[in-house]
């Protein structure tokens, strides 16, 4: 497990909220590039070897596609490069397309990291903090669905081996599948009654439940939570002041580079690289620790 994945779920959630919100809502090529750089670095640490090249090709294809598509539909901009069917293809539209592509791909990569880090356990825990009942229901559903699927599969095979589904007529086959659904419903009801008994036997519904989890909020979580919050706050402040604004139409504006903008870039850079830093720190620590042995 990566060092970042070991953090408390609340911290991980806040982290992804901060890094993805900025990437999605700020139109600024610098932010876009930082976001892509950070997400790709993080993703490389999380994914297994061997699949990387295939995935990189997919993302590059998405980027090219989006970049090319935008100028075909949007003819804004003051610098026409050439004409297709009498419609201008402008430099601004191409660059805007590239920026959107940057945003889309970086958010996609962030999402990939999100699913790798935020396992169903963690999401359940977070949900349980807000509405405890939902967490239990979700957990029971996650248990029940694969069981039902397996049961359905077994049922089909059992019936088939008795010559039930192998009829040549379609009507007969449809009739058998309908009846197998009713069998499955009967089975799930039976199962639910028994599970209900097992729950009552273990004291369900007696008292107000407590909510157990394996996660503990330690000092490191607090430190990283504060760092994230401060950095995110800085970027949000910058956004509200408009120091990160950038426009493509009708004419490409200059990249904002005043003091506060630079601070915002730095802050966002720090957030984006945070998992990478944590990971490298752990690797170095491990190397150092091992060299002592």
């Amino acid at each position: 497990m990566s060092a970042f994945a070991k953090l408390h779920p609340t911290v991980s959630l806040l982290y992804f909220a901060s890094v993805m919100s900025v990437a999605m809502f700020v139109t600024n090529p610098v932010i876009g590039l930082i976001s892509l750089f950070g997400s790709v670095l993080f993703c490389l640490l999380l994914t297994v070897r061997g699949k990387k090249i295939k995935e990189a090709l997919f993302y590059i294809a998405v980027m090219v596609l989006v970049t090319v598509t935008n100028p075909l539909f949007s003819h804004n901009g003051v610098t026409p490069l050439f004409f297709i069917n009498g419609n201008p293809v402008t430099a601004e539209a191409i660059l805007y397309g590239a920026d959107i592509a940057l945003m889309i791909v970086s958010v996609m990569v962030w999402c990939k990291c999100f699913t790798a880090v935020m396992t169903s356990d963690k999401l359940q825990y977070l949900l349980g903090r807000i509405v405890p009942q939902i967490s239990l229901i979700l957990s029971m559903a996650l248990r029940f669905v694969p069981m039902l699927r397996r049961q359905a599969n077994k049922l089909t095979r059992t019936q088939k081996a008795m010559g039930m589904y192998s009829s040549d007529s379609y009507a007969e086959r449809i009739r058998s599948s309908v009846s197998s659904i009713s069998v499955l419903i009967g089975w799930s009801l039976e199962n639910a009654v028994e599970t209900g008994k097992a729950m009552r036997a273990r004291g369900y519904g007696l008292k107000k439940r407590t909510h157990y989890s394996d996660y503990r909020f330690v000092t490191q979580d607090a430190v990283i939570l504060i760092i994230c919050a401060v950095l995110w706050g800085t970027v949000l402040f910058g956004m509200s002041r408009g120091v990160l604004d950038f426009s493509y139409y009708p004419q490409i504006s200059a990249i904002p580079s005043e003091g506060l903008s630079v601070i915002c870039y730095l802050a966002y850079g720090c957030i984006s690289l945070l998992p990478f830093v944590l990971e490298t720190e752990e690797i170095i620590r491990w190397k150092y620790y091992r060299s002592k042995i």
Partner: protein, 549 residues
């Protein structure tokens, strides 16, 4: 000190004519391992469930159940005082993760987080769950699931543990592990255990007290060695440990042996009769019903082979049992024979014709039929007779003939009184019988049975054995995949051991089982070295008496 006292307990289910329990008196001492046995429908499950208030059945109850315990700890109460583990491992698991399942009971009790952590951790390491603590409950084997159910009850620190046939859905190795764990719990923590079980071979030697029930009444309640003798000639005798059955047939007086070791010592007295007995069973000769050549199979491209270079043949009119450990590929082989899966290499011939040449449904029309492990899955309708008609309909038999056909089959196996019931309301043994009847309505020449005795008591096993022998006399070919060594030894013409994707040894039950040291019947282990090739209790008994088998 008594921990549990039952005084004049009677119980009647609503709308039932007879009492399910009739004047039951019982007192259980603290720290006892109590085995409760009786034929199916004798009220043992009712009694057990009445002992736990939360799951007690509804009905008319008279009499008293008194618990003698002190709730010294604050997080202890009536619910956590008695723990209950039931028959089906899947139905008792509530959540999707092992750690969540373990903590579920304590969460319900409102125990705070740090205490849950320490209790769960302790139990997980006691039961050896720590290796799969973070797994999904869905990925566990049956044995692991049942162990998890036990652990998640033990987390609540009960004084009495009630178990209702907990090993009936497990294979024999997982079952003995489970019983060994119970024994360890009882011995090391002084936990009181009340266990309903029909796998008596393993439980008898570890139990302190045995209760036998009949028709809602307690027949005997005493130490195992004494109860053994009392059960002689009773309906439960067939389920007793082999050593006991041999002893009962030969002696009236003396101390009854319970284990294989004691049985061996007992039987040495009869060593002088050894020369007198000989065993005669021969392999059948005839046309091949099933012929399998160089079969290879795997479920997915990236997964390892499940069947590796399997060669195998079954003669017409033969009963063949295939034994082997979990995951050795036995069930997969049955699926291949039934045409549910296709091998990627090799040939399967049924009656000399390649299985791929049976087009459409013709394979399942009067040729081959597979009865899967769970008989519940066989039924589609709300009533057994409707279900049977549906089966005949798919066989394209005119409706006018249904009634006669059904009646004929049903009468033969004595299930007439079950025809109007809902399949799910039947007991495991009854379900299996009806499922077999439904299978036979399709008139297959080859029957493939997957674990047909799973969850059966000794009596149902005998009924099934009788049914199969009759079918064999009709000329049906039967292939059974089973863990049940005793059943295989009794019924088969030939037994085979499946290991590592192929059959590595086969022979008549006598030669096959006497060649194995562990994978063999208790009677064979008892009589080894004294008599030659005896594998059934009956054979040992007759040898001891000096008769030819």
């Amino acid at each position: 000190m008594e921990i549990l006292q039952i005084k004049d307990l009677s119980f009647k289910y609503p709308e039932a004519e007879k009492k399910a329990l009739d004047c039951v008196n019982l007192s259980v001492r603290k720290g006892d391992f109590v085995l409760l046995c009786g034929e199916s429908g004798c009220g043992k499950t009712t009694l057990l469930r009445l002992l736990k208030k939360e799951i007690a059945p509804f009905g008319e109850k008279t009499g008293e159940i008194i618990y003698n315990s002190v709730f010294e700890e604050s997080d202890k109460n009536e619910t956590s005082h008695t723990g209950f583990v039931g028959q089906n491992p899947d139905e008792q698991i509530v959540t999707d993760k092992v750690w969540h399942e373990l903590s579920f009971g304590l969460e319900n009790m409102g125990v705070e987080k740090s205490r849950i952590r320490s209790r769960v951790g302790e139990m997980a390491s006691f039961f050896g769950i720590h290796n799969w603590y973070h797994s999904n409950t869905d990925e566990l084997s049956g044995g692991q699931k049942q162990l998890l159910n036990l652990a998640s009850v033990m987390v609540m620190n009960p004084d009495i543990l009630l178990l209702d046939e907990p090993t009936s859905q497990l294979d024999p190795i997982a079952a003995s592990d489970f019983i060994a764990t119970l024994h360890k719990l009882n011995r090391e923590t002084g936990l009181t255990v009340i266990l309903v079980e029909h796998r008596l071979e393993e439980v008898f030697p570890v139990a302190d007290k045995v209760i036998t029930m009949h028709d809602g009444r307690i027949l005997f309640f005493d130490e195992p060695k004494k109860v053994c003798k009392l059960m002689k000639g009773g309906p439960l005798e067939a389920g007793l440990p082999s050593a006991v059955r041999i002893f009962n047939a030969l002696c009236e007086e003396g101390e009854c042996p319970l284990t294989v070791r004691d049985g061996r010592n007992f039987i040495e007295n009869y060593a002088d009769k050894a020369s007198a007995c000989s065993i005669g069973k021969h392999t059948l000769k005839g046309e091949k019903a099933i012929e399998v050549k160089n079969l290879w199979f795997r479920y997915e491209k990236n997964l390892p082979d499940v069947i590796t270079d399997l060669d195998f043949g079954v003669t017409e009119g033969e009963i063949v049992s295939i034994l082997g450990g979990n995951g050795s590929g036995k069930t997969t082989m049955l699926n291949l024979l039934a045409g549910l899966d296709k091998p990627y290499k090799g040939k399967i011939k049924l009656f000399g014709k390649n299985i791929n040449n049976y087009k459409g449904a013709s394979l399942y029309r009067r040729n081959i039929a597979l009865l899967a492990q769970n008989p519940k899955l066989v039924f589609q309708k709300d009533r057994v007779d409707d279900d049977f008609s549906a089966a005949l309909k798919t066989m394209e038999i005119p409706v006018s003939e249904h009634k006669d056909l059904i009646e004929k089959t049903v009468r033969r196996f004595g299930v007439e009184q079950l025809l109007h019931r809902h399949p799910y309301d039947l007991s495991g043994g009854e379900q299996q019988k009806c499922a077999l009847c439904k299978l036979l309505l399709t008139e297959p020449k080859i029957l493939l049975l997957d674990e047909p005795t799973k969850g059966f008591d000794a009596q149902s096993k005998q009924t099934l054995a009788k049914m199969l022998t009759e079918l064999k006399a009709d000329g049906k070919t039967i292939v059974i995949v089973t863990h049940d060594v005793e059943f295989a030894a009794q019924i088969s013409d030939r037994c085979a051991l499946f290991f590592d994707g192929k059959i590595i040894s086969d022979g008549t039950p006598n030669s096959f089982f006497s060649g194995n040291t562990f994978y063999t019947t208790a009677a064979s282990r008892i009589s080894r070295g004294v008599f030659k090739d005896t594998v059934l209790c009956e054979e040992v008994i007759r040898c001891c008496k000096g008769e030819n088998v």
